[in-house]
């Protein structure tokens, strides 16, 4: 049972890293970006291709995946996304679905539709078991690694948001764009860097998750719903909300699939619908800011 909880937490942490960029950009720009999964896929494929074709070690691939996705995010933000911030949500949804379709077909064309496999280094392959009987805690080393990396990232994010100058600029822009711009904050730059950073995090998440979640060209479509659940349930006001939502989703999904495999996905979707009917704005509602 503890093993399931552990796996669920690892899964949830991974989802959080994948989705946090989406949460921030959605809260910041009120932009419904369904193409977020595509950035994660880019990160995942960067890692896989670098390892297979160029023999780059796994750990070195992670920052590269981050950079590639971030760069791609920055370029796309500047060229394609920016004109759409003021468009209605319907347009944004269509646009980002279109991007996702393109990404899926393009990856299919260039890399092929087979599932990609990540060769983990030896020291991440093992498994440690603690305790005995019903309370056995089996920890895969790779999942432990994921939890470690994600926890460190979460703390770093929290620090950046809460204590740095950039964080306060970002929060000001989220709360009220116009006033923030009036105070001399270059909102465009804040948007651009946040979008790039969020995309980079998604790419890193995709690279980390390639082994756990599986990586094939339909990745953005398959996991889009999970990212959106995290954001919709967690709310976009802070990073605590999405973190909680991601952990809840991870544990519920893993436990559901383990205990009642027939009903696996129902639990997640039903839970989401119930929570959203109960609190349509997510678990944590932003206070004071302009919606």
């Amino acid at each position: 049972m503890l093993t399931i909880l552990f796996d669920g937490i690892a899964y949830g942490m991974l989802l959080f890293i994948l989705a946090v960029g989406l949460a921030v950009t959605m809260g910041l720009m009120n932009f419904i970006n369904l193409a977020h999964g595509a950035f994660a896929m880019v990160g995942g494929y960067t890692t896989v291709l670098l390892m297979q074709k160029a023999g780059v070690p796994f750990l070195a691939c992670l920052p590269i995946a981050f950079l590639v996705s971030a760069l791609l995010g920055a370029v796309l933000e500047r060229t394609l996304y920016r004109p759409l911030y003021r468009k209605p949500h319907l347009d944004q949804v269509l646009f980002s679905i279109g991007l996702t379709f393109m990404a899926v077909a393009a990856v299919d064309y260039f890399v092929g539709s087979t599932q990609q496999i990540v060769q983990l280094p030896e020291w991440l392959k093992g498994r440690t078991e603690i305790g005995s009987g019903a309370w056995t805690l089996g920890m895969g080393h790779y999942r432990l690694f994921i939890i470690g990396v994600c926890a460190a990232l979460t703390l770093a994010l929290q620090y950046i948001l809460a204590s740095t100058r950039f964080g306060s600029r970002l929060r000001a822009s989220v709360d009220d764009q116009r006033v923030a711009a009036g105070l001399g904050i270059n909102v465009n730059i804040v948007f651009l860097s946040t979008f790039a950073f969020g995309s980079g995090l998604a790419g890193l998440g995709g690279a980390l998750g390639a082994e756990v979640l599986g990586l094939d060209p339909t990745f953005p479509l398959k996991f889009m719903i999970y990212f959106l659940i995290v954001v919709a349930v967690g709310g976009t006001s802070s990073i605590t909300g999405p973190l909680l939502a991601a952990l809840l989703l991870g544990v519920a999904d893993v436990a559901g699939k383990y205990y009642i495999p027939k009903m696996g996905a129902f639990i997640v979707y039903s839970l989401m619908i119930v929570i959203l009917i109960w609190r349509p704005q997510g678990l944590y509602v932003r206070q004071g800011g302009k919606s």
Binding site: I32, L90, M102, A103, Y109, A265, I273
Partner: protein, 321 residues
């Protein structure tokens, strides 16, 4: 006063080109006998898009889960034909009733929240039904789809044939029937209140429009129409698979509607024609990668703006992406 009444009624009058259009539609299976199957598909998708238009175009509810009702209609019609009675019209009625009930229940979920919440909730409903259809394999055949559906003749006389002409006429007739219904519906005072809710919900509430019940009714009716479209698909192809619930169905129908224009019933039909022809042409060129061009089309459509494209088919003639 009389002038005002006349100008108000002008919008709901039948324009002279409308009967011509429908006559052309009904002549199409005879004129293009080899494309009867495509015409059938266009009619089905057109009905589906008209149904979404009631929700999205006239009431302003963004839905990414309209396939839920489409799929429920398809499975209901297929199961009914297989286990109870092969008559298509009765099956259609049963499918519509089932979708209406689901729509009524699901309408509880779309009352509150922002666009994002609605997107998620509608998507969630469709996904739950997809999972249900997948897991209840003793009933639905699971991932293999529901096979062995044999339909009886329409009205006891017209057999479904291989060329698809009966199917095309059947779907066109149902489309026309529901189109006229939807036309009456949106031009009624009830339809006007829907548009008021779409444009400004708060003001609509302030002038005494019961927003919640109006949204419930329109969502339920739209669900029924989508169910009818699904039933038509299952009946004319004799097959229902998980595909009817898939996310891409909801996304496609939204695209169709946006291409044709929202808040305009012919938009759904026009979009269906453009979309199906495009899909047919593109997938014959690149069967595996046609979604890329679809995606590119979407991106360009949004970036350039539908209004600037004016009429998609004129732009479309000049140069395809």
């Amino acid at each position: 006063m009389i002038d005002a009444a006349r100008s108000l009624k002008q919008a709901s009058r039948w324009k002279p080109w409308e009967p011509v259009l429908w006559l052309l539609a009904f002549a199409a299976p005879v004129l293009l006998p080899t494309h009867a199957a495509l015409i059938n598909e266009i009619a089905i998708v057109g009905l589906f898009a008209v149904s979404l238009d009631l929700v999205l175009g006239y009431s302003g509810i963004v839905s990414l889960g309209h396939a839920a009702f489409f799929g429920l209609g398809a499975y209901t019609a297929a199961l009914f034909a297989k286990h109870v009675m092969p008559d298509p019209l009765v099956g259609l009625a049963v499918a519509i009733v089932a979708s209406l009930v689901l729509g009524l229940v699901a309408s509880l979920t779309i009352q509150r929240g922002s666009d994002l919440t609605r997107l998620m909730v509608t998507l969630g409903v469709a996904l739950i039904l997809l999972e249900l259809a997948n897991k209840l394999d003793w009933l639905t055949g699971g991932a293999d789809g529901l096979q062995g559906v044999v339909m009886g003749p329409v009205l006891g006389t017209f057999e479904f044939d291989l060329s698809g002409r009966t199917a095309a006429y059947y779907s066109l007739a149902v489309l026309l029937l529901f189109f006229i219904f939807a036309r009456r519906f949106v031009h009624s005072p009830f339809g006007a209140t829907l548009k008021a809710i779409r444009d400004n919900r708060l003001r609509a509430m302030a002038i005494g429009i019961p927003v919640t019940s109006r949204l419930t009714v329109v969502y339920t009716i739209a669900a029924g129409l989508a169910g009818a479209a699904g039933a038509l698909l299952a009946q004319t192809t004799g097959f229902a698979s998980l595909d009817v619930f898939e996310f891409h169905r909801s996304a496609d129908v939204m695209l169709i509607l946006v291409v044709g224009g929202t808040g305009w019933l012919y938009g759904g039909v026009a979009g269906a024609i453009v979309f199906k022809l495009m899909q047919d042409a593109l997938s014959s060129i690149t069967p595996q990668y046609w979604t890329f061009w679809l995606g590119l089309f979407l991106v360009v459509l949004v970036l350039v703006g539908r209004e600037r494209l004016f009429k998609p088919w004129t732009w479309f003639g000049k140069g395809r992406s």
